[in-house]
């Protein structure tokens, strides 16, 4: 095993997957360092799950290479499976088995010896907060518990690398927060975590993120790094009674590059860092908009995400023209 392979838990080079004419994953390359929480962001159908399924050995790549734990996924998918844990957005458990039976089943499938299984079982019950629910049928568990049990079953064999495909879908905010604490703990214990999500607040908790759009990698780096696209382009957040009218007027201003709606607020990206937020607000008021609040804000990952998509789409139009 080379030094590079030990430093990087996952190495992906020009990974491509086609379904007929459709290119789900297009020439994607990235590395995930050992012990890192690596977030894979993108909208539905962007190619996140397809990538993760290729890395888990569930789907053959059309071209390109990927090594997981130093093993070539394409050539040796079964060896990869011993070293990884995988949990999908469906929290796949046996509905008709109890919590305890699910743990024992997956432990058995991973070939855990009786003593180790007992120890891991205690760990999982504890971690997932399922003490006292050992004999509850999986189908009777609420979302958060199901999710944590599914995670527990995926890490029974203490995999070095963990793949989580939208692990927090359909789960309440408190359970989501709890779940992320578990992810942090695993990462601290040295487990490499590759997680896909479209919750951008979750992405902030990742060490590094990759933005995938239309099958292509659009941006990559730490959350702070990817926000650098807004260097010299301040973002002004405006709360006004007529947000849609405000957007239209803002778009017409030469200082404004573009706008987007964030809940009830409007984010305007300015071309010039010298222009102040108050100046923008004054100009809106002059045109009859009731501005309730205005401030320059730090870019969120959501701003980055929308910006990246805009530019990717613009580039696509450019090449098409």
């Amino acid at each position: 095993m080379s030094a590079a392979a030990t430093a990087n838990a996952i190495e992906v080079r020009q990974l491509t997957r086609r379904f007929g004419q459709f290119v789900a994953v297009d020439d994607v390359s990235f590395d995930v360092r050992t012990g890192e929480i690596f977030g894979f962001l993108g909208s539905n159908g962007a190619g996140k799950s397809t990538t993760i399924r290729m890395l888990c050995g569930l789907l053959q790549p059309t071209s390109g290479t990927a090594t997981v734990g130093g093993i070539d996924v394409r050539r040796n998918p079964e060896s990869v499976k011993v070293r990884i844990g995988y949990m999908s957005q469906r929290f796949s458990l046996y509905e008709l088995l109890t919590v305890d039976q699910n743990i024992r089943f997956f432990g058995g499938i991973y070939g855990l010896a009786e003593a180790r299984l007992a120890e891991r079982r205690r760990f999982v019950i504890d971690m997932a907060g399922l003490a006292g629910r050992e004999t509850t049928l999986a189908r009777d568990l609420a979302g958060g518990w199901r999710q944590r049990l599914a995670l527990g079953c995926a890490i029974l064999h203490e995999p070095a690398i963990l793949f989580l495909d939208e692990p927090t879908g359909g789960v309440d905010p408190i359970s989501r927060r709890q779940f992320w604490r578990l992810i942090d703990a695993l990462s601290q214990a040295g487990v490499t975590v590759l997680v896909t999500t479209h919750y951008l607040d979750e992405a902030e908790r990742c060490h590094r993120v990759a933005l995938i759009h239309a099958g292509r990698l659009a941006a990559m780096g730490t959350p702070t790094e990817v926000k650098q696209v807004f260097a010299g382009r301040p973002i002004v957040e405006i709360r006004a009674d007529q947000a849609v009218d405000a957007m239209r007027l803002l778009e017409a201003m030469p200082a404004v590059e573009k706008t987007s709606l964030f809940g009830t607020a409007v984010h305007a990206v300015l071309r010039d860092p010298a222009v102040s937020a108050d100046a923008v607000a004054d100009r809106l008021r002059a045109q009859g908009i009731q501005v309730e609040a205005v401030a320059t804000v730090a870019p969120s990952l959501e701003d980055v995400f929308l910006d990246v998509i805009d530019r990717a789409n613009a580039a696509a139009r450019g090449t098409a023209a």
Binding site: K81, S88, S92, Y94, L97, G108, A154
Partner: protein, 372 residues
């Protein structure tokens, strides 16, 4: 180890699923009981209407013969032949017997007399059988009358000497022939359908994908399904055999051990078929449809369960060699009714075993852990 866990898990799921329990244990017994009574070509209690134009002691004596016979039930007696039309049209009677005026006098004088039997031909099979019964009943009655008349006049050898010997099913009970076939049919339906659901259910639940990211091997997955359902099928064999022998009193002339052993080979085929269907389906509904329309129904029609294979066109006859039910029908009927053993049944057993092995290998080959 992994295999043991798979089998354990399958039984846990089964125990938690009352409907599955019903399919496996209750349905076969109910079906056998129903089919045991329904799947019979014997005709009993044929409704008959009599147009008695004579109304003499002699005509009543003949009618009484029909009434006491278990093949017929006299539903009404009318006066003229025209009156029977309504009964036949409405289906209240299948057969009408017309006794002409002067019947009783003719019997006494020894002059020939014609009885008319009218039958509803819409169910030709049953009617043919019913007409046969009527003819033999009247014939027997006529013979008796002749015998009685000649006895009065002095001894005389019987004019008719027909002796029919029937083998294997001397009572000509069609259910003795049908019920072992029903055993074969039930095993096919229950086990193939159950197995067809087995893997595709996990596909729907998402647990198959979860298993696919574990080191579990493909054959372990298939055998992990095969074993528990095999045990269930064995329970069904015992249950259905018990009902056949103790309730329907079908004679089990051959070896029970051989019957069980052959059933296991047969169940290997039906489970392998089900598992194969499960691997090529995406939803349970699709699996069910595929099983029923593409496999089970054609298999039942072409197996010889309903229609004799000898009467099928040559090409279709060759196609029947691809149907394990065909072989197993020969085996169960052979063991139950003829009491024959492996020395005669080995070609069928070998054909089934080969079929099962091939389809099982196909199922393992089809169950991909990695999608291409």
């Amino acid at each position: 180890m992994r295999l043991r866990r798979l089998v354990w898990k399958e039984f846990l799921e089964l125990r938690q699923n009352p409907r599955l329990f019903g399919i496996v244990i209750v349905a076969p017994i109910i079906q056998l009981t129903m089919l045991g009574y329904a799947a019979t070509t014997d005709v009993k209690d044929v409704p008959i209407v009599v147009a008695d134009g004579d109304r003499s002691p002699e005509s009543r004596s003949l009618i009484a013969r029909f009434d006491v016979s278990r093949n017929f039930t006299v539903i009404d007696t009318v006066t003229t032949v025209a009156d029977v039309d309504g009964y036949l049209q409405r289906g209240r009677a299948w057969v009408a017997l017309a006794i002409p005026q002067g019947y009783g006098a003719a019997i006494h004088s020894g002059t020939p007399v014609a009885l008319q039997v009218v039958a509803d031909g819409s169910d030709s099979n049953s009617t043919t059988v019913a007409l046969g019964y009527a003819t033999s009943l009247i014939g027997g009655y006529a013979e008796e009358l002749t015998a009685r008349a000649s006895a009065a006049a002095g001894p005389r050898p019987a004019a008719i000497d027909t002796r029919i010997r029937i083998w294997f099913n001397p009572q000509l009970e069609s259910r003795f022939f049908m019920i072992p076939g029903v055993l074969a049919l039930l095993l096919l339906l229950v086990t193939a359908n159950l197995a067809a659901m087995a893997i595709v259910r996990e596909k729907e639940l998402g647990t198959l994908e979860q298993l696919n990211v574990t080191p579990l091997r493909r054959w372990e997955l298939i055998v992990g399904k095969l074993l528990p359902y095999g045990v269930i099928a064995l329970i069904d064999v015992f249950l259905v055999t018990a009902v056949a022998v103790f309730w329907f009193e079908v004679p089990l002339r051959g070896s029970l051990t051989l019957l069980i052993a052959m059933s296991l080979i047969y169940v290997l085929c039906t489970l392998a078929l089900g598992l194969f269907i499960s691997t090529v389906s995406d939803t349970q509904q699709q699996a069910m449809m595929t099983a029923t329309f593409f496999f089970l129904t054609p298999m039942i029609y072409l197996s010889g369960f309903i229609f004799p294979i000898e009467n099928m066109p040559r090409v279709i006859q060759y196609a029947t060699y691809l149907i394990p039910l065909r072989y197993f029908l020969v085996i169960v009927r052979g063991i139950f009714l003829k009491g024959i053993g492996l020395e005669l049944l080995w070609p069928q057993a070998a054909a089934m075993a080969a079929w099962g092995a091939v389809v099982l290998a196909l199922a393992v080959a089809r169950s991909r852990k990695t999608t291409g």
